[in-house]
Amino acid sequence: MDKTSERLLEEFAPQLESPSKKWWLIFGAMLVLFALGIYGLIYQIVHGHDVTGMRDHVVWGVYIVNFIFFMGLSYAGAIISGALHLLKTDWRKPIIRMGELITVISLLIGPCFIIFCVGRFDRLHYLLIYPRIQSPITWDVIAIMTDIVGCLLYLYLSFVEDFAKLRDYAGLKVPAWKKKTYTFLAMNYRGTPEQVKLLKKSKNIVAAMVIAIAIIVYSVLAWIFGVTLQPGWHSTIFGPYFVIAAVYSGTGLLIVLMWLYRKIFKLEEYITKKHFVNVGVMLLILGAFYGYFTFSDYLTKWYGSVRMDKILIDHLFKQYFWEFVVANYIGVIVPMVILAFKRFRTVNLISIGAVITLISLWFNRYLIVVPTLETPFLPIQDDRLAWIKYSPTWVEISIFAAGIAVFVMLMMVAAKFIPIISISEMTEVDETEQVESVEIKPVQS
């Protein structure tokens, strides 16, 4: 093992060893949230979907909003980490693993919300037994399954070298089962020139694949809305709009995770202000695109003055005024202002901007799903307000909170299993780099 790897392993090994009390405390709190979500889910299964806010009109509520949101984070993670890997940017090294983890963990959580939304669990397998290729739902099922396999493969490929390093590092004080797991997952990788070459080639292929798949799969998800003749959904720009919005939210989450891991593991030496500014610039560009797409979408709908679109836009500007402002004004302007002016580009302010991005993008999804369903073309016979107007119940909120708790828990567990900063990436010598020996030179803030 090279000296640099040893130095890094020595530094990161304590992160992988026995969890601290604080770790258990946070994990316990998340577990409580998760348990509450499980209780809510059981309650929903026992009493039926009547315990949710969903009714005849609004058949998709917070569950679908969360599904889109988490899937967006996942695809964003894939696009960001894939692109950073292929572009070989030097500053990617300490943060690329976070992107990879976002990809897989969000992808495992997102589709669960679909299952919660389905009223008849017993018929769920019909999607696989009786698929109709014409149905966008079938496209989505196929696409998500393909994506899960691709992302897991990508994550594994990026972990192999680190597993091998952890297997070989004698100073790691972890239980025997953990060592055995590293040995098994390292797959007898010894870093021979042939292995290095093959692994690098495989990583490049899968990195390119996950970018393409992420764009296609999220477009498919957008087309579920886009091909539906509903006011607010039937739009040709929904595919690219969804992809841009997803990468925008994912970049926000990446910054938040950078801030958290930097604080928790004291990684200031590795994740510097430069990283925040660089990812922040990505956020700025994506924010501008997101704002442009949003404006373009609403402008054409408003100008067209199709009756139902007009009603929907009125609805958005009256009943959903604040949500609309948060999603489409604050969510664009505040992060852009923070990143546009040099004096505001501090680590904390950029992170605050990223949090705002995340919140606003969740509301953006909510405004895509709910108000449209509250504006149907044909009224039902008994159109009492409680049947038309949607608001999530404690059951939906508890399951939503459980989803976030699972995300946090999996990120915590992942950080206990594998260094959050990829050692293999840090020690990798890119083809473009002309250096004789690998020496870690943390970027100065």
Binding site: W139, T146, V149, M187, T192, E194, Q195, L198, L199, S202
Partner: protein, 289 residues
């Protein structure tokens, strides 16, 4: 101290003057525009339709909730209960067939629409002057030719009818949203005229067509119409379920091909990478052995 008193006095005077001005600010009444149309309908009744609106900045704003009264005649008045304008500014009243309508010695009818005014609007009135007419429409086969025959008469002051000669009557088919004109009949000295009916016009499920003959916005005769049903159309069944291309048993070929190419492309790469992983594993074994 004196200066302070002076300032306070000045402020009091200004405030008092504002208060007086506010009391004098009585909103000025606006002058609305009232349009009025009388139309004799198919069943012989009269529709009296007026619209009250306000033009501001070149935009027409309908005035709703305003009461409009109608009167007919000048010597003896027929008063029709007023109607309140709807959200589009329209107030509509009907005069049933058979009601004796006051008219002058030349048979001319004068109808008035009156808006008495309100707190916000000035009063407005307008009149419609016309001679009552009657159109008779018949659809008959003349030597195997489908023909629409029109007769029109004007009603004299004593209630008698005399032929309406030299005038043009438009013949049309009533469609869902508007009328489809099929020709114009110019009346002869006896007030009669005919028109060859077009073939191949789509009708309802049994081929019925609603044929309407009318005179519109005539300076003497105003608006009058008459209608009849003719089974001369081509029967058309309404397609209740619109056929959508994707709702077929089998997906379109382009979709199957695209999806297959995509999936094979992606999964082939996956399999290739898995094979690479197996080679990586074996490569080590070879080195060790």
């Amino acid at each position: 101290m004196r200066v302070i008193k002076l300032i306070l006095l000045s402020i009091s005077v200004i405030l008092f003057s504002f208060s007086l001005q506010a009391q004098n600010d009585v909103p000025e009444k606006k002058a609305p525009d009232l349009t009025f149309v009388v139309k004799k309908l198919v069943d012989g009744s009269f529709e009296l339709k007026s619209r009250l609106s306000l033009f501001e900045n070149r935009i027409d704003f309908p005035v709703s909730g305003a009461k409009v009264d109608y009167t007919i005649g000048s010597d003896s008045l027929l008063i029709i209960d007023g109607n309140t304008t709807d959200k589009n500014g329209y107030a509509i009243a009907f005069l049933k067939p058979g009601v004796k309508i006051p008219r002058n010695k030349d048979g001319v009818i004068t109808a008035n629409a009156v808006f008495a005014g309100s707190e916000l609007y000035e009063s407005a009135s307008t009149e419609a002057i016309f001679t009552e007419t009657k159109i008779v429409i018949r659809c008959e086969m003349v030597d195997t030719i489908k023909t629409t025959k029109i007769e029109a008469y004007k009603i004299n002051s004593d209630g008698t009818e005399s032929p309406l000669s030299g005038e043009a009557v438009i013949v049309s088919i009533q469609r869902m949203f508007s009328r489809l004109p099929i020709g114009e009949v110019t009346l002869d000295e006896e007030g009669k005229g005919s028109l060859e009916f077009p073939i191949n016009l789509p009708g309802d499920s049994i081929g019925n067509l609603n044929v309407v003959a009318y005179i519109a916005e005539h300076e003497i005769y105003g608006n009058v119409e008459s209608a009849t049903i003719a089974q001369w159309g081509v029967p058309k069944q309404q397609l209740l379920v619109t056929h959508r291309a994707l709702w077929t048993q089998i997906a379109p070929m382009w979709m199957i091909v695209s999806l297959t190419i995509l999936l094979i492309g992606v999964w082939a790469h996956y399999i290739y990478v898995v094979i690479q992983l197996i080679i990586i594993k074996k490569a080590k074994k070879a080195t060790v052995n």
